[in-house]
């Protein structure tokens, strides 16, 4: 006994019954063309920037070969140049910034989403966004004119008591000598890192907050009903739910920290050797190198700077795409378009 499905006779005799709606009229076709043109224009512009950068970087890369990645000096006119020193400097500054910014941003995001009174929340969100909008030159100015002089004590303390950690060592300073000059602690990776941390903390914070506030109310109340304290609820519901947002936000902040120019340029005193001692005078970054040397007119020098810029761009690109992927795959990011 099989049931057979019979196709209903299609309306050959009544063509009026199903009228196909034309998808678009003349105006609509024009509208689509304009939209496509707009999208294409932006695509062409952006691709042009990328392709041009790579093409311009070509000659310098060909000249330097693999030594571009291992050379510390930057003397393009004599053919000896590489990004080993500036790349390490960039990563160190960004690393210090992330180490300081992530705890601050996590705390702030938790405060806004879990602890703050409801009426205060909108104001706090606005303040954090405002902090992200403050121009980088203002942060740089603050670091240059204020922080530089006030953080030396902390730097000396760290160098004196924690110098057994390899990165915190300072050569050429004797903590037992009360008359020793303190300039060895200025213009360091550490100070630049603190300033950059203040700039990226709000960026990280707003993404984390977005993820935390989306933690489902049912699971929160479930945790409370099982007798959890507020911290217990946060640890077992909010933090696991927002993990993707936390990692993604951190990586986005890292991308910003890698590309930061002016604040770093104002604070550091550039050196072209790998300087692993973060507390010690002398640091460098790719963007500061470009700002410092763009005026040198030579063809090779410019191409070399382009190559350094491309290396920086590739680094931020990988970090940003990684962040976008992690946010999109996480539970909190699946429903939103952040």
């Amino acid at each position: 006994m099989t049931d057979t499905l019979v196709m209903p006779a299609v309306t050959a005799e009544a063509p009026e019954q199903r009228r196909r709606v034309r998808p678009s009229g003349g105006v609509d076709r024009f509208y689509r063309v304009v939209l496509r043109l707009g999208g294409g224009l932006v695509l062409v512009l952006m691709t042009l920037v990328g392709v041009f950068l790579f093409q311009k970087a070509g000659p310098a890369l060909k000249l330097a070969g693999w030594s571009f990645l291992t050379t510390e000096a930057w003397e393009p006119e004599s053919g000896r140049f590489g990004i080993a020193a500036v790349l390490v400097g960039t990563v160190l500054i960004a690393g210090v910034a992330i180490l300081i910014a992530v705890p601050l941003a996590t705390g702030m995001a938790l405060y806004v989403s879990e602890y703050a009174p409801r009426g205060l929340r909108r104001i706090l969100v606005g303040l954090v966004d405002l902090m992200a909008a403050v121009p980088s030159v203002v942060y740089g100015l603050w670091g240059f004119a204020f922080l530089q002089g006030h953080v030396i004590g902390l730097a000396r303390w760290l160098a004196t008591y924690l110098s057994w950690i390899p990165l915190l060592e300072v050569t050429g300073a004797d903590p037992r000598d009360p008359l020793a000059t303190e300039t060895v602690y200025t213009s360091s990776t550490f100070i630049a890192g603190i300033v950059v941390a203040l700039m990226i903390a709000p960026v990280i914070c707003s993404i984390m907050r977005e993820a935390f506030t989306q933690a489902p109310i049912g699971e929160r109340e479930g945790a409370y009903a099982l007798g959890a304290t507020r911290w217990g609820m946060i640890r077992s519901v909010v933090l696991p739910f927002g993990r993707g947002g936390m990692i993604g936000g951190t990586m986005l902040g890292l991308g910003r920290a890698l590309g930061e120019t002016i604040a770093v340029y104002l604070i550091i005193s550039p050196v072209f050797v790998i300087q692993p001692h973060v507390l010690q005078n002398g640091a460098n970054s790719v963007s500061a190198l470009i700002a410092l040397r763009y005026g040198e007119a030579g063809e090779v020098a410019l191409s070399a700077l382009m190559a350094a810029g491309v290396a920086l761009f590739l680094m931020t690109l990988v970090v940003n795409f990684g962040a976008a992927m992690i946010v999109a795959r996480s539970r909190s990011g699946a429903e939103s378009d952040s």
Binding site: V42, K56, L124, G126, G153, T261
Partner: protein, 384 residues
Amino acid sequence: MPEPRRNTATLRQEDVLSALGAAVAAFCLTALVFYWIAPFTGVLGFMVCWFLAFLGLFAALVWLDRDGPAVRDRLVSVVVHGIAILLLSALVFVVGFTIMRGFAALVHPNFYVEDLGVTGPLDPLSEGGAVHALIGSLEQIGLALLITIPTGMLCAVFLAEMRGPFPRLVRTVVEAMTALPSIVAGLFIYATVLLMLHFEQSGLAASLAIGVMMLPIMVRAADVVLRLVPGNLKEASLALGASRWRTAWHVILPTARPGLATAVILGTARGIGETSPVLLTAGFNKAINADAFHDPQVSLPLATFMLIKSPQSSMVARGFGTAALLLLLVLLLFLIARLIGGRGPQDLTARQRRARARASARDLARYQRRTPPTTPIAVTEEVQ
């Protein structure tokens, strides 16, 4: 006897009292140990020690009549509050420091009307000003917006409205370009417009550099806003017979208008404060140059950057004044963005809601005039 009402407030009196007590005790203890017994000085170190002692004493106080999980809960709560206060006070401090140091220059009215063209390095603050940088900033950001708003909005609508492989490609490329460091955008314009096309350093070149940097940021922000427009609004419009173009113009864009305005204004705030692309492309000029197409033109962040490195204290004060001016400009933009776009689509103020109600009543009256009341609309009962 009625059951007493339970207190469900999350702020408990005992916690507040023990926090206060712990704070006072920690202050006294730290003051004693830090300044009298141990040979330490410094406000920063004092604050850190105070906070650590506070944490310890507070935990001990809570532990007197609560168990482990409660102690951890209160400790985390205190730490989170501390971090929030720290971060907010850092913001207030950065902003306050800049404005305070810039105050010396800001109080002179000549700061807003004069340039630095004839001001020598030793002239007092009552001469010279920053109006040249202000003009430069406004012209450059205006030119950049003139380029980025039409292309950016068109591209965002394209991304939100079209489906298929092409928009996906555009979206990926735009997202990739948001990672472009601003200095590299400046370097690109420097290499193309200045060195290959032989333009001179000018406001136009600077605005192009800012535009290259701003465009992907703006497209991305606008795309996110446009995708938040509820799908049923679009479907309703299409079902009423409107074309796609009319749907976009009369439904999608008006619904997303506050969000789009916010995206544009925040992009503007970001662009106006950028120093590094301008550093490479605009050149430096001490006098007013209102012509953005020829000769170097300085902007507020660039002027700050240049002035602050000067050895003369009056020039440094002017640098702080310029920075404060820039900061106030960004604050203003930010406030406008908050006022326009603080609410999501469909979330109306009471006044907007009344306006909608009035418009709706007018429409109703119009329909009733059109359909004579003597012939009511026939309601036919169809078969089940």
